[in-house]
Amino acid sequence: MTTQQTDKIMRTVFVDTVSAALDEDPRIAVVTADISAGAFAPARERHPDRVINVGIREQAMIGVAGGLALTGLRPVVHSYTPFLVERPFEQLKLDLGHQDVGAVLASIGGSYDDPVWGRTHQAPGDVALLDTLPGWTVHVPGHPDEVEPLLRAALAGSGRVYLRLSARENGSALPTGEFTLVRKGSRGVVLAVGPMLDGVLAATAGLDVSVLYASTVRPFDHAGLRAAVAGATPEVVLVEPYLAGTSAHQVSETLADVPHRLRSLGVSRDREVRAYGTATDHDAVHGLDPAGLAVAIRDFFH
């Protein structure tokens, strides 16, 4: 693991990186719908034509991003997860995908980072929704130090990229890009996505399993998973911080020619949790706290 470079939260790294990119690259433009607009105020002073706050108009936010991209700019669109992915979903499909243009979408709020706001501000289905659309790259950083390299690469490109920022984070950053083998074992593989890694490491302490880490899930690193499985056994536990099983089809595709077992852990699909409290409380409800993960993982490998 790398030495921590910043004590900033992911959102701050995002704002700082994009603000710097606005100074460096005339293609970059930012579109917000009030959320975080204040954080971009200094950048807006310097680049009033390329830092655009549309107000609380999320359909327009994505439509405007599509239009900017049609003129050759590289829009960065930012809001709270439900208002970035769920509310303007048809705009994502048509104003970006169908127009064959790109953008960088950066969400905050994760699945339930701040549950005091209730269900309206939770969007554990965001990655699953984007998975219904072709051509999206999806990054799920697990540490603030992972945000800048992922974001810099996204800004330099031209495709459609989703950067899922969260207040949940691991204790240390890992290299971005391909899956990283964090712990080597002989009895199966646990694939931890983004901020789930620390919980997975705690839950698997003393188990003879490999732990693989992913901060990029689309494209899915099929070669990385195959290599990990080859070094252990074709038994995989997938631990994602969003809707359970979102990447199950990717694991199945990776191991299509290998008899295998798969257990998918993530946010429950079968109920709406009508409760407030803390993210840790909700982890426990969904079995994503270290104790819950330990039970599920040990049961799978038993």
Binding site: V54, A60, G63, V64, T71, L94
Partner: protein
């Protein structure tokens, strides 16, 4: 060969099978002709020029008039009109920008063109380009709430290079009390309401200057004309 507005009917009639939208298509034909013949800096030679004007057909339903004008102006081989809606044809009942050079947006689902048009106007302004952006919407399409996000935003941002032409053929189920123009005016737009068949009136409306604010041209089409 040079084609005129008189050739449009024959080109239009080469596309059959979407008679449900003949009314929608026929309502737009004069507006499209005036824009492509007399107003916009768009030609088959400049479809990739970043300084070209942009025409965005938001109301993608009934594109027969649009394709006919594109064929008349040399963007399309007229023989392609005979292939429309077939598997290998680039011409469908909703246009696709990826398949047809000169088509600026893929459209069909209503209420998307205006948001894209606002973004296009903002992108051009950020690049200090003088290009115009014209978005064609229908009065029925304006029912979609997404339009009203874009209308308000364009007014606040003073997008003077943005023009909306709203074809008012009375399609909106619940109508627009007080007229469509009023909905735009309250958001700071300049407005003009003209006969959608009167080429000179359309030309005057499209070329009038209105510094500091976007404009809407409401082109009225009477049902008995169709």
């Amino acid at each position: 060969m040079t084609r005129t507005t008189h050739d449009l009917a024959a080109l239009f009639e080469r596309m059959t099978g979407d008679e449900k939208h003949t009314w929608a298509a026929a309502s737009t034909v004069d507006v499209l002709w005036v824009l492509y013949d007399r107003v916009l800096n768009i030609s088959p030679d400049n479809v990739d020029d970043p300084d070209r004007d942009r025409f965005l057909l938001s109301k993608g339903h009934g594109p027969m008039a649009y394709y006919a004008v594109l064929a008349a102006k040399g963007f399309l081989d007229p023989d392609l009109l005979d292939t429309w809606t077939t598997f290998d044809s680039p011409l469908g009942q909703h246009p696709d920008r990826v398949l047809v050079p000169g088509v600026e947006i893929g459209a069909g689902s209503l209420g998307h063109g205006l948001g894209l048009g606002v973004g296009t106007a903002l992108g051009l302004r950020a690049q200090r380009r003088e290009s115009r952006v014209v978005v064609l919407v229908g009065d029925g399409e304006l029912d979609e709430g997404s339009n009203h996000e874009a209308i308000a935003l364009a007014g606040r941002l003073g997008l003077e290079r943005l023009t909306v032409v709203a074809i008012d053929n009375g399609s909106a189920s619940h109508g627009w009390p007080g007229g469509i123009a009023r909905r735009f005016e309250v958001e700071g737009w300049h407005s003009a309401t003209v006969d959608g068949r009167d080429h000179d009136a359309l030309h005057r409306a499209f070329t009038a200057h209105h510094p500091g604010r976007p404009s809407v041209v409401v082109a009225t089409i009477h049902a008995e004309e169709l």
